[in-house]
Subunit: 209 residues, 2 copies
């Protein structure tokens, strides 16, 4: 785990980065960050490379990229990376939906399937369908937090057993079946019938007046 002094500096870097107007200042140098914290620029570069962030000579660091990764490490990420598993009708509709929204905090970062005829095909604006067996390595590389599970019910548990190897945080389960997960993985069952029942209730209530 990260040493306490480093964690303190991490939060100070973040506070500084959050106050920057990225339209005016899209990049920041280790010297500027060092000045704000009153420390040596070398310490800044050391900290940031420890966090996996490397500046560009003469340019510095991208404020947006630095903010996102430091937030993720601090556990206060406002960005949730999602993967869709099962690129059938529902999977494609959900991809359409997220590509149509302007919600920066919910990002689809990869989509998977097991069908040979689908793997490698382009979908949506900028994805290629990946092989589900590569999920664990892709999940670590892309920081996948949440899986949107849109496979048929008989495939659901097998898929769950694969994706939990990728250290994900939660599963939004659209499959019409119950899935088993370890204690540290959250599951939410998504069911359109809930909306339908609310609609029917409004109709009935009005009919009885």
């Amino acid at each position: 785990s990260i040493p306490k002094p480093t964690v303190r500096r991490l939060l100070l870097y973040l506070r500084c980065l959050k106050s920057i107007d990225i339209n005016r200042r899209p990049t920041i140098s280790s010297k500027e960050l060092a000045n704000v914290l009153g420390i040596n620029p070398n310490q800044v570069r050391k900290d940031l490379s420890y966090f996996g962030q490397f500046g560009k000579r003469g340019v510095g660091y991208s404020v947006v990229k630095l903010r996102e990764s430091l937030e993720r490490i601090a556990g206060i990420s406002n960005i949730w990376n999602m993967a869709i598993v099962g690129m059938g009708n529902l999977g494609k509709a959900i991809l359409n939906y997220y590509e149509g929204t302007e919600e920066p905090s919910l990002k689809v970062v990869a989509v998977f399937d097991k069908d040979r005829r689908k793997i490698g095909k382009r979908v949506g604006k900028r994805f290629k369908i990946r092989d589900i067996k590569h999920f664990p390595s892709a999940a670590r590389r892309l920081n996948i937090d949440i899986v949107l599970l849109t496979v048929p019910p008989d495939a659901a548990q097998d898929v769950v057993d694969v994706v939990i190897k990728g250290k994900i945080k939660g599963i939004l389960n659209f499959s019409t079946t119950h899935i088993k997960v370890p204690k540290d993985v959250f599951v939410e069952d998504a069911d359109i019938n809930i909306f339908l029942r609310v609609l029917i209730f409004s109709i009935i209530r009005q009919e009885q007046c």
Copy 2:
């Protein structure tokens, strides 16, 4: 509106029909119904034809069919007839979903689209895609109560203007846009983000402990 004595008999017919075990007695004659109510079989036949129900000579009426239509007229229908409009990815996924469930009270009875290449094509286990311009007449004939709206946002209001001519009771709106309807039509906006937000909240709450 229906005359009071007829409404009273309607409810008595229903009470009688509900007590029948359809596995033992799938049909009933106007004579049997007349006996239960203590009235003339002619009056029974007159009432039922007024309700759009006609018996078969020597056979009588199907108990199930009679029950369903009288319940509908009495406004206490437990069966909701649904139509899916927009047979793209989401529409097909939703058809799969309802064909996969054993829920007798929620029935898809027809599906529609406007795409020439899709109209007339078979989908799911037993549907052909119909032309959306025929919705109003199909709606009256099939007693469509609810429309599941799964078209792109720019088509949503046009589709709504067509389907409300079919005297429907409600719309479950999956389109990512606001739709306008008359006062007697209910709308429920369905949004998968609601489930996602609940999932994210559970994850965050646990991370903070």
